[in-house]
Symmetry: C2
Subunit: 465 residues, 2 copies
């Protein structure tokens, strides 16, 4: 992922975020001259006059139309929760939730996580507007195509420069999906894309903070609002993406326009979407996958005397912690990954619970894993042999771990992953119904049904914890 960018990054910048924060929080009230104080009043008065003067201009009226479409506020479901909010806020919050575990989908060519912005906006709008399941799936495919094609055009320069490409392209995808759901004509759809083009969201410095998942959420909200504004007559440049001072040339040096136009309507970027099977670093995935395959072949933890693991050196460099003390450490332990794979057949969020990590059988099983480096083995592969108490040796070699494009997760594996995340929140019965609703959504007269199945009913309360 390390590439050269056009301009060297300045690693010695002073801490201006903190400097400004201290200033804003602590500078005394009226801690300035009479001239500054008077200028503040002049600034205020001039601004009030301008705002009053244009208050009935068609610009303000069109924007207000979009804002008023968000009332009354109890419009859309927050998945897994009982609160209901306006559709723009639902797009925001569902977008945040879906990226919080970093466990969502990945368009590998751009490392865009495409569903967060697009699905969050589309579901909220379709639920409120009474859209059909068919319309939702169409909007999802088309919206993801827009995000990922723009991403293809700008990647990798744009990402290297510092943009979180999921959020910076996500506003466009969400706007496209919502324009489609609103049945806007091509002219107004261009306006929706144009309004979204002024809102690329997210820089990579935020990784590791709550603002990372904010990016897909904010992109979802921006795209939904852009479509509503276009519907109400709001205008933007008709070449807001490609013009010299448009979005793409402003935020990326590289722009391969053919990535947008080539095979449009024939090749769909959603075909290249992948899903992460395990709730930990990708480098452990082949080892977990191999141990899960041992389990599938009938190997049980109590039979095992030793697990011989051969991996690329990077695996032990990054995840060589044999005695993780908690769930967070276990996410960086290939030994825990192997123990989870053999014991549970998977490694979802719950397999990284502190309680599971510290279970005596898990501690014991981790200690039975003997890992060695074999540079002949690719980072994406793992070689595992279980040596059983009866002397048998069971060998598994994983070339492409599950979840890669070459070896995608099966539908059953996707369902299991879903249950691992959603069962603790909704309970198994609701969870099964929700899975079925997802598979059959294209035939549903109203998306509303699915959305409401994803809500936690206020009476029921949360299933656990």
């Amino acid at each position: 992922m390390a590439r050269n960018t056009q301009v060297a990054a300045d690693h010695h910048a002073p801490p201006v975020t903190q400097t400004l924060a201290q200033f804003v929080a602590h500078h005394p009230s009226r801690g300035w001259s009479d001239a500054v104080e008077h200028e503040a009043h002049r600034t205020l008065m001039n601004w009030v006059g301008c705002a009053v003067g244009a208050a009935h201009h068609e610009t303000a009226t069109a924007a207000l139309g979009a804002v008023q479409a968000l009332q009354p506020a109890s419009q859309a479901t927050l998945l897994g929760r009982s609160e209901r909010v306006d559709m723009a806020s639902a797009a925001l919050i569902n977008g945040i939730s879906s990226h919080t575990f970093d466990f969502d989908d990945t368009h590998l060519k751009t490392i865009i996580h495409p569903a967060g912005p697009v699905a969050s906006a589309a579901l909220a709008l379709a639920e409120h507007a009474g859209g059909s399941g068919r319309a939702l799936i169409d909007a999802l495919v088309l919206g993801i195509d827009v995000s990922c094609r723009v991403g293809n055009a700008m990647y990798p320069d744009h990402y290297d420069r510092g943009w979180h490409i999921t959020g910076s392209t996500g506003s466009l995808g969400a706007a496209a999906a919502c324009a489609r759901l609103l049945k806007l004509d091509a002219g107004k759809t261009a306006m929706a894309l144009g309004i979204a083009a002024s809102q690329p969201i997210g820089v990579r410095e935020q990784f590791g903070t709550m603002t990372k998942p904010f990016h897909p959420g904010a992109a979802a909200r921006a795209g939904l609002m852009a479509a509503l504004m276009a519907q109400h007559g709001y205008s933007a440049s008709a070449k807001a993406l490609e013009a010299p001072r448009g979005m793409m040339q402003t935020i990326s040096t590289k722009n391969d326009w053919s990535e947008i136009t080539s095979q449009l309507g024939e090749r769909f970027e959603i075909s290249f979407n992948t899903y992460k099977p395990f709730a930990c670093g990708i480098v452990i995935h082949p080892s977990i996958d191999a141990c899960a395959r041992l389990r599938a072949q009938g190997v049980t933890p109590d039979q095992v005397e030793r697990i011989e693991l051969k991996v690329h050196s990077l695996v032990l460099e990054l995840t060589g912690n044999k005695e993780p003390a908690d769930g967070l450490q276990a996410k960086f332990s290939v030994f825990h990954g192997c123990a989870a794979g053999l014991t549970f057949g998977h490694a979802a969020e719950e397999q990284f619970d502190d309680a599971i990590v510290n279970r005596p059988d898990m501690v014991a099983l981790r200690r039975k894993v003997v890992a060695t480096v074999d540079q002949a083995i690719d980072e994406a592969s793992a070689d595992v042999t279980a040596v059983l108490a009866d002397g048998r040796r069971v060998h598994v070699f994983v070339e492409h771990a599950v979840g890669s494009l070459a070896n995608p997760m099966s539908d059953a594996q996707l369902e299991a992953k879903f249950r691992g995340m959603a069962d603790p929140v909704l309970g198994a019965a609701r969870c099964s119904a929700l899975i079925a609703a997802c598979w059959h959504v294209a035939a549903a007269a109203e998306v509303r049904t699915l959305a409401r199945q994803g809500a936690l009913s206020a009476e029921a309360g949360r299933h656990t914890g």
Copy 2:
């Protein structure tokens, strides 16, 4: 304003905005293979599972706290209108209105229009939260300082690259103002700035469309929401502005950090704020100003036989239309500017009404203006002589037109400008009260009073038109 940028702009980009808009609007439903259709369902299901799974994570809960602070929705005034909306939407709409006439304030060093983002956010929050006038003015000074200092650091590279610097720095200024109003400590203020740092808004390609004034509005909303989220415990990088993959290095090649840190708390950027006196291109301002001074010296249109105008060549190149047919054309007619200056003493939005432009006395007066180029005269200056019917010659030379930093608008002139915009909406009596409320706001126990004086009462209806 023409400068070289690091990277040559691509002026031959294909029209991808239209291409994508056509595709999104017209591609047939389910116009793809079964494999694509199935992948769409897998994408949806995986996304739903992720969203349900993290629905009760502190990240989602903190964001929801901020969203719920926007309910119930009737929280804040839209200046000049009777509708009330939630405070984030009020920040958006007031920010849009105040920039719609392109008549707001200008920080000349960066050409940032600072009040739009900052005042729009601060007024809406202070109104709803019961803030004092003192707190509002403090927030305005500090927020504008943050926007303009960050702008100083990045200008001109950042602007040349394509960013509308008012919106791209405005999120930070609005976040700072709102953090101050919410009395956040320095740590949470840094989080508010950090969340805002992922939301630079606006590209210059939008100039000439409704999306230009959207930029300050969207920045106001983003900053207000960032502060609310930080208040509710939402986190961001503590070095989101300055880090190598933080906001500033991602969106600008030039970053002069000392512009942020130097004389912080001693020099206030609001001191360098200017206000445009006339509702037309800046190049006509000296001529209007000169003719208004003739009027102030007692010269009346009926006395005038001829007006001899000497200006820089650029003035006639850009605004040499002697017979404008309507208000829009009149904005590019120095002849109309002179007629308006002599007749009304100013040239606000109403002096560019079609009816005024086509009034016989205005047509006649424009024809009495004889303009010649004098390259010895600066663009910012004008030399005017009125030749009267009785043979007298009255001469005025304007070196620095009113509204420049060297010759700022007086408070009385600001009031007149205000009336020109606000009288037609609110009526003269309410307008006078609102002006008084602005001058005395620092002593007001509650900003709410001022805000509500700026509203159009639902019963009263709009004063005219």
